[in-house]
C-alpha cells in the first residue's frame, strides 16, 4: 500500500497530497487539505453535495480518485469565495433564502457556476436540467432556482459594467 504524491492545481495554487492508492478527491480535499466546503453526502454519486469543478467542468469528487486529477485544475467553493464579501452566487443564495441546513449549498453553487460559465443567461428549464443531480432535502428547489436566476442577471449586468 505504498503512498504516492499527487500534485494538482487547487483554486489557482499548486498543491500536493500524499495518498494511499485510490483516495478520493473528496477525501484529499476534506481530510488532508482542510477544504471542507466540499461535502460528503452519499459517496454514491447520488446527491451532488461533493460537486467540484475539474478544468471548469462539474464532477463528483466522491467518485474521483485523486490520482486522476494530477496536473489538472480543481475549483471548490473556497476558491470561488472572494477574500472580501461574497461571490454573486453566494449573495443571491443568501438573499433568496436558498439554504436552510446548507449541506447541499456548496455543490449547488459549484454546479451553478459551471452552468453560468456555459450559459450566462440560462432560463428556468436550463437551470432545472442542470440541477437534476444535486439534491436538496430541506429548502426545496424554488429558492435555489430563483437565486441562480438572480445571480445570472447580476453577473451579466456586472460584466456589462452596469451598476447592480
Amino acid at each position: 500500500m505504498a503512498s504516492t504524491i499527487v500534485a494538482f492545481e487547487l483554486g489557482g495554487r499548486e498543491v500536493e497530497v500524499m495518498v494511499k492508492p485510490m483516495t478520493t478527491l473528496q477525501s484529499a480535499l476534506r481530510d488532508q487539505l482542510g477544504f471542507t466546503a466540499t461535502k460528503e453526502g452519499c459517496r454514491q454519486g447520488g446527491c451532488g453535495s461533493c460537486t467540484v469543478l475539474v478544468n471548469d467542468e462539474p464532477m463528483l469528487s466522491c467518485l474521483l480518485p485523486v490520482e486522476d486529477v494530477a496536473g489538472q485544475r480543481v475549483t471548490t467553493l473556497e476558491s470561488l469565495t472572494p477574500t472580501q464579501g461574497l461571490h454573486p452566487l453566494q449573495q443571491a443564495f443568501l438573499d433568496a433564502n436558498a439554504f436552510q441546513c446548507g449541506y447541499c449549498t456548496p455543490g449547488m453553487t459549484m454546479l451553478a457556476q459551471a452552468l453560468l460559465d456555459h450559459n450566462p443567461a440560462p432560463d428556468r428549464g436550463d437551470i432545472t436540467q442542470a440541477l437534476t443531480g444535486n439534491i436538496c432535502r430541506c429548502t426545496g428547489y424554488g429558492p435555489i432556482v430563483r437565486a441562480i436566476e438572480v445571480a445570472a442577471q447580476a453577473m451579466h449586468a456586472g460584466e456589462e459594467g452596469q451598476p447592480r
Partner: protein, 283 residues
C-alpha cells in the same frame, strides 16, 4: 479501502500489458460512476484497479460513414456529437450533468439494468464493439456481446476499446420512461430504428432496456412489423409481442407487472410516432 495499487496507463498497449500481468484480479474502471460507489461502500474490494482516463480511448470521430466511439469517451462527448441524433437523445436521458462528465459510453455497456440506456440505443443502431487483448483485436455485433445479467463476451484479459455505429438516415426514436422527467432509472427504455421501402417497413430494430437481464432486442415484434405499413392492428400485435417477450423484474422503481405493461404501451407509442412520421414524409 483495501486497494493496494492503482494504475493509470497512458496507452492501450500499456493497459493490455497490465491486464496480462495482473489477470482477473485487476479491476478495470473507466468513468468510475458504477465501480466507485461499490468500492466506497465496501461491496467491491479490489486489490488492484486500472483507470482508463489517460489511456487515449476517449476519441470520437466520423470515418467512412461510421461513428467511432472510444470506449472511454464520456456521455457528455456523446451528447455533443452531431452525427447520430438518437445517441444524443440517449445521452441526454442518462444520469445527470456531473455523471455524464465522468461516465463513459463503454462503461454503459457494463451497467446492469435498469441502467444501460445508451446501450439500448446502440443496440437499435446495429453498433459493433471492438475488444482487444494480448491475442489481438476482435469485432463483434453488440447484439452478440451480451450473454446474461452482468455477463458478456469480454475475456478476463480483454478490454472494450471502441464502439462503431453505422451512420444512416433511417427514422429513429428513443423513449426513456422513468418516475421523474430527468436523472431517473428507467421503468422501460425503448429505442427503435425502421428502414422504409416506400410505405413498407423493410427492416426494423426494436431494442428494450430495463426489462431483461441486459439490453435486449424485441425480435418477435421486429418480425411482425417488417413487410407491413404499420397499421393500427400491426402496431397492437407487435406491441403485445414485445410485452410478452421481455423479461422484466421488480425493483424499487417498478414491479415486473408494471414494466411489462409499460413496455407494451411505449413500443406501441414509438411505432405510432414513427408511422406518423412516415406519413408526414409522404411515404
Amino acid at each position: 479501502m483495501t486497494v493496494r495499487s492503482y494504475f493509470l496507463p497512458r496507452s492501450l498497449p500499456e493497459a493490455i500489458g497490465l491486464l496480462e500481468t495482473h489477470g482477473p484480479e485487476l479491476l478495470v474502471m473507466a468513468g468510475g460512476t458504477v465501480a466507485m460507489p461499490l468500492i466506497n461502500d465496501g461491496i467491491s474490494l479490489p486489490g488492484a484497479v486500472m483507470g482508463l482516463r489517460r489511456a487515449g480511448l476517449d476519441t470520437l470521430e466520423v470515418a467512412g460513414g461510421t461513428l467511432r466511439i472510444g470506449a472511454a469517451a464520456t456521455l457528455t462527448q456523446l451528447l455533443a456529437q452531431p452525427a447520430v441524433p438518437m445517441l444524443r437523445e440517449a445521452a441526454r436521458n442518462t444520469a445527470s450533468w456531473s455523471i455524464r462528465n465522468m461516465g463513459t459510453v463503454g462503461g454503459n455497456l457494463f451497467t446492469p439494468p435498469p441502467g444501460g440506456d445508451v446501450a439500448v440505443a446502440l443496440l437499435a443502431l446495429d453498433a459493433g464493439v471492438t475488444l482487444a487483448g494480448p491475442r489481438g483485436e476482435r469485432v463483434l455485433p453488440l447484439a452478440d456481446f451480451f450473454t446474461g445479467f452482468l455477463s458478456n463476451q469480454l475475456a478476463a484479459d480483454e478490454l472494450l476499446v471502441e464502439i462503431q455505429v453505422p451512420i444512416r438516415s433511417d427514422p429513429t426514436l428513443f423513449i426513456k420512461f422513468g418516475r421523474k422527467h430527468a436523472n431517473t432509472p428507467a421503468v422501460v427504455t425503448v429505442a427503435m430504428r425502421l428502414e422504409w421501402d416506400g410505405n413498407v417497413v423493410a427492416d426494423a430494430r426494436i431494442a428494450l432496456g430495463a426489462v431483461g437481464p441486459h439490453p435486449i432486442r424485441a425480435r418477435e415484434a421486429e418480425r411482425l412489423v417488417v413487410g407491413t405499413s404499420l397499421s393500427a392492428d400491426t402496431i397492437a400485435v407487435a406491441a403485445a409481442a414485445a410485452a410478452q417477450g421481455c423479461e422484466p423484474f421488480t425493483d424499487a422503481i417498478a414491479t415486473e407487472w408494471y414494466r411489462r405493461r409499460m413496455t407494451g404501451l411505449f413500443v406501441s407509442r414509438a411505432l405510432e410516432q414513427l408511422a406518423q412520421g412516415a406519413e408526414g414524409e409522404g411515404r
